[in-house]
Symmetry: C2
Subunit: 372 residues, 2 copies
């Protein structure tokens, strides 16, 4: 068959366009751009949340999403007012992120290096991206992260449940309310010795559950710390967080060396870079996704601490079940867990890891284990 | 309808049996026993392999398999004669293993604790099980381990290629043969200074490729080590392994502090427990699966070293492509890699990670990346 030159031109043109279109598609497919989006959200606390020097009824967060190949990964930055990050600073940081050069959300090592290199600090914002990437990549390969990390979800520990600072009567009433649902309580100290002891006595008068104590940098001298730890030990406390100011490491090392209870770093440890320097100073570290930048850094911190012979605690801020489910993936490695954050809010917009009779029950769903 | 009492009995009996059968099946399914098997195998070396004080033409190995849910994971223990493990000791260790209490090969944390608790040492035997578990579990979830570890396979480094100890003429000839296929060479020293220098000069006379030097604990004093390192640096060496005897850590620390080249631990580092103690003594560590017990321990060692600001090298014994492919999964994290083990044998019974123009090309196949 002879083709008229004009038709031939059309054929070439159409094939040429088809080729260009094909290569554009191939290029487009190869790039698989990940799409990051976010929105501010305000968590409503069920009860007024009081610590030594402040109280509040809300916690601002930013909820993130990363879309890729029809899947969505969810993340969260929790922004309690006593820390420097805000919804604005998180938005500002997230606007800088361009994930289009990464074509596999599982390349978490390189993506972390990119994220962390964008700007210092902004750890909650980085965590919001890292959590969404873990959720997305776990969903893409159909596995929950605890399984990818080689952990047995049945080994997840009990979570502590925090009894807020309040009057003796209210503390007794709250303790009675929750004592049958939990296996270990948490108390934040840091007021006068009389008030702190009153709080412990109030709990002890209605419950014999073990108590985890967050001293919130509250004690001034080694002697004072050891006296209180001795008294707390007699009252059934099982561990102490951050007995003295975060930079007072020499004195903390002395406290740890003489304490009957294990001493955990909270304010003294932020990220991966701090862990090795705390060996010999604390018995263990409290790992929080919002401080360290997310799940990958938290996983590395937990392994590093264990390699150095230190204990591991996994903690949280006030958070939805999104960030709690993310943190819980790591919990089978932890000696203590404080993952009650989502229980304290009335407008949790996710469902994932549950707390059942005090025990952390990690969901089997892929990614960070959120239910669809 | 009224059922005759005799028929009723039969019904109950049948249903009862059905229930028992069901529970037996459920129990059976739930247990999913993993089946471990193994066989000795002898690697034939392409060339006589000479180091400072021995030479050989064969390396005994034990090849392992773990079967589970219709999948097979492959592993390997390499047993060079200068190390204490043998095919017999590996068989003896493997006979003790009972994996029937584990119903998920991905519970690598607990399985490692069980394995490591069975008996001290036996690290190559433990590696053979750990590698097979990684291969199996990666296949079960359809992913290669470098991806599960969040690593970009394109970042895998070049491997060194070892030029064996031989006469000047043979060294020149061998170097000429391989120089265009590799980007970095490795030399094992440890004879007299004249012989060691002669070897380097012979290579240098025919190739300008960078040289990685394994001093094999050969230097006796800090001064001797620094003199040789200075000379090697001028000759284009880029790193030094194990300059002095493995327990001579004080002197090695002095060498490292004054050396122009990074100093890596080889004999001084065995497993995860050694790494933290070598900070400040060596610049980096050489991680070998057969020394540390397999992929999970190696992954933890690499992360720990990086957290401590140390460099990472990933090395091997004479091994088939099975153990080499396993080690290569980690290589995108490594500053140096010495994964030429499978290139040195004539009867490799696996195909997986390839070396292409000197670069480690990790296969995209699931597990450790072996081709079916």
């Amino acid at each position: 068959m002879i083709i008229h030159p004009f038709l031939m031109k059309i054929k070439i043109y159409r094939e040429g366009w088809g080729m260009i279109n094909y290569y554009l598609c191939a290029l487009f497919n190869r790039m698989h751009p990940m799409k990051l989006s976010w929105k501010p959200y305000t968590l409503q606390l069920k009860h007024i949340f009081a610590i030594a020097n402040s109280s509040r009824t809300e916690t601002p967060v930013v909820l993130t999403q990363i879309e890729h190949e029809g899947m969505i990964g969810y993340g969260e930055a929790s922004l309690p007012p006593y820390l420097p990050e805000t919804q604005q600073s998180v938005s500002h940081f997230l606007e800088k992120i361009n994930l289009s050069t990464f074509n596999d959300p599982l390349q978490l090592e390189e993506i972390w290096e990119y994220l962390d290199g964008l700007e210092e600090g902004n750890m909650a914002a980085k965590a919001a991206v890292d959590i969404a990437l873990h959720d997305l990549s776990g969903k893409l390969i159909g596995q929950p992260w605890h399984r990818l990390w080689g952990l047995n979800p049945e080994k997840a520990p009990d979570t502590t449940y925090t009894i807020g600072i309040d009057t003796v009567e209210v503390v007794k009433e709250k303790t009675r309310e929750v004592a049958s649902d939990f296996n270990i309580l948490k108390v934040k100290l840091g007021r006068s010795e009389a008030e702190d002891k009153g709080m412990i006595e109030a709990i002890r008068s209605v419950s014999s559950l073990p108590i985890s104590v967050d001293a919130n940098q509250g004690w001034q001298t080694v002697g004072q710390a050891l006296d209180m730890i001795g008294w707390l030990h007699e009252k059934g406390a099982v561990m102490i967080e951050q007995p003295m100011p975060k930079h007072d490491l020499e004195n903390i090392a002395q406290v740890t060396a003489q304490s009957q209870l294990p001493i955990f770093a909270d304010e003294s440890v932020q990220g991966l870079a701090d862990v090795a320097n705390l060996k010999g100073i604390f018995s263990g570290i409290n790992i929080k996704l919002m401080k360290c930048g997310g799940m990958r850094q938290a996983w590395k911190m937990a392994n590093l601490a264990k390699c150095l012979g230190m204990k591991v605690m996994i903690g949280c801020m006030t958070e939805t079940s999104c960030a709690i489910s993310a943190a819980s993936q790591l919990s089978p490695l932890a000696d203590f867990a404080d993952l009650d954050g989502a229980l304290l809010i009335s407008n949790d917009c996710f469902s994932g890891t549950k707390i059942k009779r005090g025990k952390i029950c990690i969901s089997n769903q892929a990614g960070i284990g959120l239910e669809a």
